[in-house]
Amino acid sequence: MSVSLALRHRFSAGAVALGYRLVVVIAMCAALALASDAFFTESNLINVLRQAALLFLIASGLTLVILTAGLDLSVAANLGMSACLVASVLKSTGSPLLGMLTGIGSGVAIGCTNGLLVTALRLPPFIATYGMLWVLHGLSYYYMAGGTIYGFPPGFREIGSGYLFGVPIPIYLMFLFLAIGWFFTARTTYGQEIYAIGANPTAARLSGIPVKRRLVLVYAVSGGMAGLAALVYLARLNSAEADIGEPLLLPAVAACVIGGASLFGGVGTISGTLVGALILTLVLNGMNLLQVNANWQPFVTGVIVLAGVWIDMVTRKRTEDRL
């Protein structure tokens, strides 16, 4: 009884938080439309959604990790490594299917390694995945040897730059994975167990949840989503370099954090992360339209990460005070 009450409380609070964030999105759209004539054009809006879609694919997997009170700092490096492997497989075989399998496979394999470092070797998640970041970074640079691989088969490029009924494929992928992610987190036992692990790992273990297996699963999913995002990104860019993933780490963390995922675990939703990805993309798009030097983007993204965490801290404190 009390559990269902608690759940209901969480979902309604979640709906309110999501509502706030949607208001922010609408307000930003209005402000940008006033500030720039180029904003409310079909091509720009589709561009925003397309960028948000890529960010969402990475951030949705990362959200699961954050729900367990962990962090996967290797997602962007994973994306980069996977993209390089996919690029060379595409070049040597010409088969889009093999390329896709390579991307997902390498993403999941790297994610599983993270999961094992965290569970079997008991390394703190941020140290394990931060180490993984630099290991993957080094491996990608070694593998690419300073080169670029470009020009992929048209069938593969559809994933990133194709359209269906006038809407880019990545946007369909975004909604598909929003649905899958929502169902997984809110409607399956696995999802509920992940929330439980984040809220209180000891309680989760004592109530019979296989914590280690769930953690490995979560890191594997995060890695797999990075691999999937690598496919979309590669298909759009049509070229791969060693540092292709690097600039995506901060935006991915920012999307989760401003989407309402708490770094202390147990709080957050996949739909929140989608809205977070939208907010961040709107900010960066707005900077572009207002002709702010692109070199300022990492600075602004850093500020947004900190602002998001700060909001989380304040709301947590308020909730705790109320209890």
Binding site: I127, G131, Y141, F264, N295, G302, V303, W310, M313
Partner: protein, 321 residues
């Protein structure tokens, strides 16, 4: 019980002595022997001096990182911050300011970021790795934005001798390293601040309950890191005679590895400052040795990543009863 004359009679005592020797000593010894055998240049005096010179900047990040990790924190902004400070220093010099003014500006930038890190971690209670991830992005972004992604060149000639010159026969980078170690040692083992560094990592709540203004000391730890990054920027800028907006990106990883290999624990307030020095040498020896063997720097990062996993795993084993 009387002492036995030889170790051989008491294998248990030998084993205890071996177990008491910190792991980093073995790692360092192993690396030196391995590289000494595989590369004939490795053990030459010139090369060993070279390792010391190259390790000076890393040591200046690893010492404050030890403080941060002892307090159960992490500062992944230090590499980007060092880069930003170096860019600021170079820009100030190019615009015709004197060295003292330029260095003061670089240290002020370091101090400001350290203060921001400290406030976020201690007052706002943000998990340290996320707080410093955010400020890392900010520092990296600022370095790119103020230079427009280009190297800052055209520094007047008198900066480079700082890296190449010497005081009383001691190369200046080594003098900086010694000075930083002496300062850190004094702060950690001979001041109240130092005792509180251990206490914050061990049991921050107890410190607060005892009436200590823990926030102040906690902020101080990160401010120390920022200032050291500002000072290290002098060596970095002098070494290349320029400020490059990605010069030291990722150096914090080497620093974290050095601290971890040096035996400072991530999960309780204990550690060993001299262990960090040995850890820095281990990282420096590893990079230098692999360089001599012709291993590209991309793979050096990979082996350093593996080194930290081994070190942390050993730390985890020790923790278990």
């Amino acid at each position: 019980m009387s002492e036995m004359p030889t170790l051989a009679v008491q294998p248990r005592r030998l084993r205890a002595a071996l177990a008491a020797t910190p792991g980093v000593a073995y790692i360092l010894l192993l690396l030196v022997v391995a590289f000494g055998m595989t590369s004939k240049d490795f053990l030459s005096g010139a090369n060993l001096l070279n390792i010391g010179m190259q390790s000076a900047i890393l040591l200046m990040l690893a010492l404050p990182m030890t403080f941060v990790i002892m307090s159960e924190g992490l500062d992944i902004s230090l590499g980007a911050l060092l880069t930003l400070c170096s860019v600021v220093l170079a820009l100030m010099l190019v615009r015709g300011n004197g060295l003292p003014v330029a260095l003061a500006a670089a240290v002020a930038v370091g101090l400001a970021f350290g203060l921001a890190n400290g406030l976020l971690v201690s007052v706002v209670n943000v998990p340290p790795f996320v707080a410093t991830l955010g400020t890392m992005g900010m520092a990296q972004g600022l370095a790119l934005a103020v230079t427009d992604g280009q190297s800052v060149v055209g520094i007047s000639e008198y900066v480079q001798p700082i890296y190449e010159g010497g005081i009383f026969g001691v190369p200046i980078p080594l003098a900086f390293a010694l000075g930083s170690y002496a300062l850190s040692h004094w702060l950690l083992y001979h001041t109240r601040f130092g005792s509180y560094v251990f206490a914050i990592g061990g049991n921050r709540e107890a410190l607060v309950l005892a009436g200590v203004r823990a926030n102040l000391y906690h902020i101080g730890i990160y401010v120390f890191g920022g200032c050291m990054a500002g000072m290290a920027a002098l060596l970095l800028t002098a070494r290349t005679n320029s400020g490059h907006p990605t010069a030291a990106i990722g150096m914090e990883f080497d620093a974290i590895v050095a601290v971890a290999v040096g035996g400072t624990s991530f999960e309780r307030g204990d550690g060993w400052l001299f262990g960090t020095v040995l850890g820095v040498f281990a990282v420096g020896v590893m990079r230098n040795g692999l360089n001599l063997l012709g291993v590209p720097s991309s793979l050096q990062v990979v082996s350093i990543g593996l080194l930290v996993i081994v070190a942390l795993f050993v730390d985890g084993l020790k923790r278990r009863p």
